[in-house]
Amino acid sequence: MTESSDITRDYDLYLGCVAPNRYPMIEASTVQVFKKLGINLHDMKGASCCPAPGVFRSFDIPTWRAIASRNITIAEQDRRDIAVMCNGCFGTLLEANHLMNSHPDQRTETNAILEKVGRQFEGTVKVRHIIDILYNDVGPKAISDMVIQPLRGVKAAVHYGCHLLKPSETRPWGKDENPTFFDDIVEASGAESIDYKDKFMCCGAGGGVRAAIKDVSMDFTREKLSNMKDAGVDIIVDCCPFCHLQFDLGQVEVKAMFGEEYRFPVIYISQLLGLAMGISPYDLGLIATKDKPPGTPPFIPTEPFVKKVVEGM
């Protein structure tokens, strides 16, 4: 790997809810891949729900901001920037950090609450999505240099998700309706990113829609799946545990609700890169071990994908 020395090599890893509590393979694979890249992800002890931007922010903005700021203060105490694996958590922590930094009145208000738990928001850390670190610090070139098992012949439908990109004024990529940075990372693994209709459309999980109005939420997913099918992809690659859940469990739900069957393995970016870098597919959660309890994800088996890669070699 081409070591670029000027990048930050220690982060607090913010886990969120879905990754550690439902899709721990995302957590496991991210830690391993980053370790390989020479970046240490430290535990962020006592972090809570971010809380979700489309849900809790929708109910009560001051509560949302206070809990988010509390999470940020943990990293501030650790004196480390925050690495985030989830678009929703990214949205919440980034936006809250931005609001607290740029609006003194909101900061004063929230700090008065944090004081009750012995905390103060100082505004000393950055919030970064792992895609941001992978693209802007590590770079696709360095990633591809580390690939020992190129995922040649794999056709990936890249799903960016919404909060990675928008609102663009606070995102590191600026305003661009057709970005390619995530595709570049995916392609660094040797896989091919396939263009499909409405690629940048929402998966349907966010904003509390999945919880409250399930059929509408699943109809988003169905449309995306159908567009992916039309484009002839093999797998879905994402960078958000909630999108991940929506596509994985969602394929089961779409079948139940609409009678349409799709069987795309859903791969989180660090699982994809980990495989290409030669990390064991068992460790990445791509092949289920015998200890995997029944009724837990992935609901669409990822083994066929691993098999294809290994056979393709």
């Binding site: 305003k175 309706e177 057709n178 409405d198």
Partner: protein
């Protein structure tokens, strides 16, 4: 004339401006207050001071000998200083013994909800004006000659009209055009709304007339590179770019172009058609002479062999031309908005998304498709076309413009109607937010578009488009806001009704000429209502889209106005300029020469022999920089003397 040694007897006149001032300020109180100020002998209040009656009030007091200084507390001096100066002069008092206190723009209008504070500010402003008035001195206005020659920059329909009007009146006109041909955007248009007459039929005769006019000198392929001097006597340097073709010798036969092997996009056809490296922008170009585009020429010299009159000259160099002008008229027009960066509309990604100007070329009988529009992807006539309105206009998105471009609603309907005339079976949609059809005959044009031509108007701004990969059709997503329904519409072609924006080099012109730009980049007029064609720089006028988006009728009207403004200056033969110049008191001057280099107009000179530093009144523009800098206090600026400004500063703070 009043003797300036006399004790000041100041008359203060407070204006209500209807409710503009009196609605916020207590003008009776202000009048009483003014009466208590030193040297004030008269204090009046009136509803509209700028009206004839208002001015009479002042004049009577002057004529009666009651007052010898005037203070009007009203609007901005930039609005009515001239009005009141004139009134003062006509009543027999030197006009520079007048001072205006701005209690409208700087007080009542910006402090509408803080009446108590506004009142005390008004007192301060009046007190300061009175203090300055006490120190004012009579001055004589200067007169300078105005040369009977005009420089017109930009030869679109605006510039052509200005040149023609001034040339017809016998003035010597130089028409400078950046591109090889005159004509501007109007030459690119096919027909013009609302009358649907042929654009070329109107503009080409005008172009030819200007081209042959004895009083008009066209400098095409040229740019203004330096401007010095002032109203009446502008010294201008114009740089003519090399054509690499002797413009005298070239006969316009086109033989060279036939043999030239280099093919590139033709700007005139918005890149929809090709041209050679040696080219004429379009057949009717004026002057009808060829130019080599050196960015693309490969120097094969085939043209040189072909050219009978041996006009080709690869050694051509830029030429500098210097000339003096009495007036300058800026008619540099516009640039159409480039939608390439707005990704949701797919311009540049999907071949069947084109701009309004490209459609205009397609509709033109001498355009790339000889008047039969086709879709770029397959060259077939589109059956369905959707026009997107307000592309680049009325938007706060980055890179877009906030204002309405004023012509795109009309030209979209025009193009839709033209296409319908050729293909009555075609389906046309116009996706709009508001149809702005405000000119004479425009609403009727709109009505006919809907009723007779059956054009479908959908109220909703297009959100995004996709390409149907099978047939390159464009799938549009939008909301029909009147039905409150999202719609998906598949059409053969999309035309983006792009707006008009300021030329990219407008800033350069702005700096050269010292003409301000408004926030949107267009040139700023001296007053939006009363002086819409003057600029704040005397002797410089602006007309056409260079001043702001407008259609051809308005452009021509403005051009005629600008011509008449310039003509009246040149016809008078001289112009008065404010005597705000600076004067050196040589008794105090230590010849340190600090001032000499500071003057931006090199108005200060040093005579070594006589050891004398002097200011040339005609060159001095009255900025006062030297005055502020002189370590010996040897320089005074008329009307802005230290004593006059200090009088204001010393009375600025209330001593309550």
């Amino acid at each position: 004339m009043v003797n300036s040694d006399e004790e000041p007897r100041i008359g203060v006149y407070i204006c209500d401006c209807g409710v503009n001032i009196a609605g916020v300020l207590d003008n009776d109180e202000l009048r009483e207050y003014a009466a208590t100020l030193p040297n004030v002998v008269k204090s009046e209040r009136y509803k509209f001071m700028c009206s004839e009656i208002g001015q009479k009030l002042i004049q009577e007091d002057i004529e009666n000998g009651e007052i010898n200084r005037v203070v009007v507390a009203a609007c901005s001096p930039r609005m009515h200083e001239n009005t009141f100066r004139k009134a003062t002069r006509e009543a027999g008092l030197n006009e520079f013994l007048f001072e205006q206190a701005n209690i409208r723009e700087h007080d009542s209008w910006v402090h509408m909800r803080q009446q108590d504070d506004a009142q005390s500010i008004a007192q301060d402003i009046v007190r300061m004006a009175v203090a300055k008035a006490s120190k004012l001195e009579p001055l004589e206005v200067m007169k300078v000659e105005v040369k009977p020659s005009a420089l017109v920059i930009g030869a679109g329909i605006a510039g052509i009209n200005v040149a023609k009007d001034l040339g017809d009146q016998g003035f010597d006109v130089t028409l400078v055009e950046k591109t090889p041909t005159i004509g501007g955007h109007m030459a690119q248009l096919d027909k013009t709304f609302p009358t649907m007459d042929c654009s070329a039929c109107i503009i080409t005769p005008e172009m030819v007339e200007v081209g042959n006019h004895p009083n008009i000198n066209i400098l095409n392929y040229a740019e203004v590179t330096k401007v010095d001097g002032f109203v009446g006597n502008f010294k201008v340097e114009i740089t003519k770019k090399p054509h690499y073709v002797d413009q005298e010798a070239c006969t316009g036969c086109g033989g060279c172009s036939d043999v030239c092997p280099v093919i590139t996009g033709n700007e005139f056809d918005e890149g929809m058609k090709e041209r050679k490296a040696i080219y004429l922008p379009f057949p009717q170009a004026v002057p009808n002479k060829f130019t080599i585009d050196m960015d693309h020429c490969i120097k094969c010299e085939l043209c040189k062999d072909e050219c009978e009159p041996d006009a080709i000259n690869f050694d051509d160099k830029p030429k500098k031309i210097e000339k003096e002008f009495g007036t300058i008229i800026v008619t540099t027009g516009y640039k159409a908005f480039d939608p390439s960066d707005y990704t949701p509309y797919g311009f540049g990604r999907f071949p069947n998304v084109i701009t309004g100007l490209q459609m205009e070329r397609e509709l033109s009988s001498f355009g790339p498709t000889v008047g039969k529009p086709v879709r770029p992807s397959d060259g077939k006539a589109p059956h369905s076309i959707a026009f997107f309105q307000c592309v680049g206009s009325r938007s706060f998105q980055p890179g877009m413009n906030n204002y309405c471009s004023r012509v795109c609603c009309m030209y979209a309907m025009k193009q839709a109607r033209q296409y319908k005339e050729k293909h009555p079976e075609a389906e046309i949609y116009i996706l709009y937010m508001d149809i702005r059809a405000f000119g004479k005959g425009y609403e009727e044009f709109y009505e006919i578009a809907a009723r007779e031509y059956g054009i479908n108007f959908i109220r909703g701004r297009a959100a995004e488009v996709f390409e149907n990969p099978e047939n390159n059709n464009i799938i549009i997503r939008a909301e029909d806001t009147l039905l409150k329904r999202p719609i998906e519409l598949e059409v053969d072609m999309v035309v983006l009704s792009v707006g008009l924006e300021a030329q990219e080099d407008a800033t350069v012109i702005s700096r050269l000429l010292n003409v301000s730009q408004t926030a949107d980049g267009f040139f700023m007029e001296a007053h939006p209502k009363l002086r819409p064609i003057d600029t704040l720089s005397d002797g410089i006028f602006v007309a056409g889209v260079a001043q702001g988006p407008k259609d051809i009728p308005d452009t021509v009207a403005q051009a005629k106005g600008a011509a008449s403004g310039a003509a009246s200056l040149m016809a008078q033969g001289e112009v008065e300029i404010e005597p705000y110049f600076s004067v050196i008191n040589n008794a105090l001057c230590s010849s340190c020469l600090s001032c000499v280099d500071l003057c931006p107009y090199t108005a200060i000179s040093y005579d070594k022999l006589a050891n004398l530093v002097t200011i040339n009144k005609a060159l001095c523009k009255g900025c006062g920089t030297c005055t502020a800098a002189c370590p010996c206090n040897a320089i005074t600026q008329n009307h802005f003397k230290v004593s006059q400004i200090m009088a204001m500063i010393d009375t600025a703070i209330p001593t309550r």
